[in-house]
Amino acid sequence: MTESQGIMGKGVARADARRLVAGAGCYVDDIGAPGALHIAFVRSTHAHAAILSVDTAAAACMPGVVRVVCAGDLEGICKPMQVAMPGLNMPTASLQYPLAIDEVCWQGAPVAAIAARSREQAEDAAEHVLVEYEELPAVVDAQQALTPDSPRAVLGREGNMALDCTFGNVNVAASFAAAATVVEQRIVFDRQTGVSLESRGIIAAFSPLSGELTVHMSHQSPFQMREVFSELLNLPNHRVRVVCPDVGGAFGLKLHAYPDEVAVAAIAILLGRTIRFQADRLESFLSDAHAREAIGVARLALDSAGRFLAFDVEALSGLGAYQPYPRGSVGEGLHMAQMVGAPYQFDNFRARLRAVHQNKSPTGAYRGVGQPLACTLTETLVDRAARAIGMDPAELRRRNFLPAEHTSRTTPAGLEMGAVSLQPCLDTLLAMMQYEDLRREQQRLRKQRVYRGIGIASFIEMTAVGAALYGANQIAVAAQEGCSVRLEPSGTVLCHSSATDQGQGVRTGIAQIVAQALGIGAADVTVRAGDTASSPVGGGAWASRGMAIGGQAALLAAEELRGKILKLGARILKTPAEQIELADGGLRSAANARTLSLAELANIAYFRQHQLPGGGCPELSATRHYAPQGFPYLTANGIQGCLVEVDIETGMIGVLRLWVVHDCGRVVNPLLVDEQIRGGVAQGIGGVLYEHCEYSESGQLSNGTLADYLVPMAGELPDIEVAHVASVAAETALGAKGVGEAGTIGAGAALWNAVNDALAPLGAAMEQQPFSPDRVLRALAVAARTSTSPALAPTADIDSVNA
């Protein structure tokens, strides 16, 4: 594609933005649905219990209540969900019913639903539903879930293990035996949740007369949900329409089929009317997909020159009670295990992942999906190695990075690695940070007992994931994206994309791509998405695919339309197509200087075909799909830097500066890309400094409000400096790689390294995130009691994962 002075690469403002700043967004809860009934759920208050009885008599009589729905009412209307991934060796998954039958396995599981004329009345009635429970033994701790005599998270299962798999090979033992240095790092990652500001919401309308189900929902993947509703509710595919309007943040949590949302659709069929549900904030904390709960122990073997020989990883992933339908949740553990060491060259690799069920909320996709964990394990380990051998951490990385000239190959971990640009990213980062100056200042301040820390973290990320993930596991999730373009009589272009937008701005990027191909302004391209009735079939938004795949589909469609425009233009202008220039909203013949606006061309084609020499009915539209071919995903890479100051008296950590250097190939819109990176960084920082879902020993979530679950606000973050290295992806004509998750993948690791760098002279190190002040103080206290040599942090016990 030509590199003319087009609008690709420009920071074009989003068309949506004008609506959003005027308060004219349209989110699910904004949609009026006269006569719709509101749902409030009765949810389990126990982590694990048998349901003995559900008494709805009192609730059914309360004002405004139309129906109280229990599990039995949905039998015959809605099948249970059962995750299956035949490509992985997993035991049969448990059935998950929309409303629990007989047994609840996590606090918050929906047990009954009230359909009433208002949400207030539904909640009033929900308080009067009497559920008799018999508490069952609960397993909450993931390590305990591994033990043979652990309570079963779901009754009747042989064990709590969902997946036990190994990557790499046993040669790793030889590497460790021959190593000059071995370092080890154990990290406990506390559970987190996505906390999108707009909670999950759904409006399901069923017409018994037409047999059609229309669903408006706050979701990332309308086509997936169409398949899900069709499958679970036994409706033919073409009678189900799913529309995703404006979505107020998603981050992966809105990728799943939730039992409460499925219940709403089923109730719409049961009652033959429109039913709506918006999760409130308490429900969100309890029932949105959680993520990140894991324990990782990683070891690195180095030779005497500081060259990496091998990585060895033990990973334990806590899944909650069920894997969410249809995608499952083992992806986080798989990436956590397999991607350790990804940016580096080394000979041997072994990783074992065990993913277990527990009586907690089901986990699912959350920005980065395991890659942030792999990056944190890797980069803390590399820093540990640097300290152990007395080498600067940046230098140690430089010596071991995958070289730029390396192209597609399979790593010892089994990863397909595309081209990388780690060295240029590191060079750029160190220059931006003025790294040497920071180190000098750090030394100077240490003498005054002011403890600053500098951390860097490099990362590889999988973007634009293709069909090898879900398709190979027979899960009906589209891994391709499509784009339809149509020239309108006004000379503008109407475009439908299967890529969905929850704020990333992908529609604007697509507008730019289409506009550049057709020689018009981005404002003259209207992009619609998110409606299975009009969008081309495609995946939606996940695994950083919007520009990389959706943009490529748009490019193909726009170029096809361009060809058609030129062909028709050639007939009208009586000029060979190759001598026609398409620019500024019109065609110009280089041969005879005749011009024709796109509007005029369109009018001839649509309204005045009789004027066409040679007759016929020209097509001025095109639809093209694109799926990654020949590669399972596009690897992007980057490196992040972090400067912190740790107040050793209070345990408070101040994040002073943040830097990101990222290579996502072609940058279609730098404004959008930089903001995606910054938002991702904020989430990564949040997970390390503030965020965790706190569970009691009996499996009760104790901090499920926004006052208690702490997310970073404006006062807690500094400005985030972003720079780009652009090695255009060779795999697609567009050359863009994904970027949506980049910020989150590396930020946590950079912060980990910065804090441990600050604490190193005191012999202290953090081993669990988030770094609450009391955990920092405890680490310092432990160091003060035990340390003799400040340079070395204590090594971890690998058996602690197996305990």
Partner: protein, 287 residues
Amino acid sequence: MKPSAFEYLRPNSLIEAAAMLEEAGDGAQILAGGQSLVPTLSLRLSSPTLLIDINRVADSAPLEHCDGVVRCGARIRHVELERSTMVRQHAPLLALAMPHVAHPAIRNRGTPCGSIALADPAAEIPACALALNADIVLQNSGGRRTVPAEKYFIGLYETARLSTEVVVELRFPAARSSDRFGFAELSRRRGDFAIVGIAAAAQLEDNGIRSLRLVIFGCEPIPRVSAAAHAMAQGREIGELPIEEIADAVAAELDPMENAQGDAAAKRQQAYAMAKRVMAQLNEREV
């Protein structure tokens, strides 16, 4: 999360409000700023049958400096204290504390009287009231009575206010020109509840400390004046306070609630740090 249903009354005077409270008995609550009450209703942690809204009463005292007292009536919002030059001059400790009270939109509506009525252990206003030896004026159907701050805070969310009484006025002794003040609060994020906070007021005679009221709040059920700090500071020259010793003693006195924010050891460590910072402020700050 929608509140349970309740009745709603909006009296024209505080006397009327007290009468309504008494008549309604259990299940009635006063609605002032609502910034703490309304969330509990939405969360259904609290289901009163009647809310008595005092936001339009005609007999609320103004925010004013009068006869050596800074008075603050029931309808006065936090933001009014925050923006008041009078408060900055005559009750500087309150001016120091105000930016720490929640967030701007909350301060626009929440009230200091309401904060005293709730007596959240992490709240700033109760700590300042204790440090300044303020008086709390309570209205009941029979009239008014005044309770000094030292006698007002009894236990966790438990105060001397009877359930038939309304907090109608706070009376802070106005600062003398030689008084020194300090305030520091440790919280996870800007505007969060205090993990541990210190509000301190020192009265000087010549350059010597006649009394030091150093109040710790946030990690015990009620705000508390540190006996040790007063004993160690009394008589000493300002500028020659044994800061570390006093901070040590403040930390040692602490009997913190252990919760998700940390164990006792962490909170003592943090109280020590905050106490040092406040005492450094006392040294340098003049009215």
